[in-house]
Amino acid sequence: MRELLTMFGSFFKIGLFTFGGGYAMVPIIQCEVIDHRGWVDRDEFVELLTLAQSAPGPIALNTSVFVGYKMRGYAGALAALLGVVVPAFTVILLVAIYFAQFRENVYVNAAFKGMRPAVVALIVSPIVSLSKGMGVWKYVVAAAVALLVWWSGVSPIWLIIVAAVVGVAIELYNSRKHVAR
């Protein structure tokens, strides 16, 4: 029980002090989980990050479940997950409850008019760093997906499924060719 509480406490800290989500959380998780607590070693953490990125869901959530489960099984996974979720949930709930009162304020309204285009810019900017080193083909696919989802309103879920199937098919084709030779 004590260990579960420690785990909840550590991930609560991670959840409370990371703003901006995802990649911003990585150094903080690293500091707490490797340097401070020694729950996983460095090599394991790098592998874990790759997995946390390739699994669906927020990276911070995935990482917490992995570390928690590895340490204390299901109870550990739940304790770590709650640790990350509870501070985010509480703060946002308070904002949601009290925000309506300020929403019509002239200054708040003006501030949001300024923030909206900035938010869009923050969404655009990781596209550049993520797509570094991709082949021409992949750029074409990425652009086609962006236009298709925007213009037709098709659910991105279908495109993810198609991509996964195509990936498996390519590998099947390659291994057949390999065997035939």
């Binding site: 990350v84 949930f89 946002i92 991105p156 990936g167």
Partner: protein, 178 residues
């Protein structure tokens, strides 16, 4: 019934949310803005701005906020639980089988094929925020919007802290519009 709809929508978002935060935005946008019409495009941007300034992953923040807006306190509990469930179950499975998964060629090939789609989804989220479909109120209202967009993009490419950029754009907004 609204609870069931919220639960299913956020379960879907959690399950197919490959690529983390920003890529999940496209799924969230599709479910809550395009499909369900629970909020407008500019409300969606406001939630992202608030998520950036508050602690925690953007997917959790948006689930809590939208859940509360749509169905009150229990709505926020339902949506937050639903978006966390897939991460919880899938990561436990992955942890158990991760040595086999890591070296599996089919998994690796599927992941590599999904990458451009995930990047395209981030692009779609941005396009929808810049050019929303006609039933939503716009995020870009005048030339100043574009100035702020380009300025933030340049600063972000130079690794300026995103929270600082949100705060600066809020100050600019007050200076321009108030």
């Amino acid at each position: 019934m609204i609870y069931l709809q919220l639960f299913l929508s956020y379960l879907k978002i959690g399950f197919f949310g490959f690529g983390g935060g920003y890529a999940m935005l496209s799924l969230i946008q599709h479910e809550v803005v395009t499909e369900r019409g629970w909020i407008t495009a500019s409300q969606f941007s406001d939630i992202i701005a608030i998520s950036q300034m508050t602690p925690g992953p953007i997917a959790i923040n948006s689930a809590t906020y939208i859940g509360y807006t749509v169905a009150g306190f229990w709505g926020s509990v339902v949506a937050t639980t639903a978006v966390s469930l897939p991460a919880m179950t899938l990561m436990i499975l992955i942890t158990r089988f991760y040595i086999q998964l890591r070296s599996n060629r089919y998994v690796a090939s599927a992941m590599s094929a999904m990458r451009p789609v995930v990047i395209g989804m981030i692009g779609a989220a941005a396009l929808l925020l810049i050019f929303p479909h006609e039933n939503s109120d716009p995020n870009f209202i005048d030339a100043w919007s574009w100035v702020l967009f380009v300025a933030t993009l340049c600063a972000s490419a130079r690794k300026v802290n995103p929270i600082l950029l949100i705060v600066l754009s809020a100050v600019a907004g007050i200076a321009i519009y108030a």
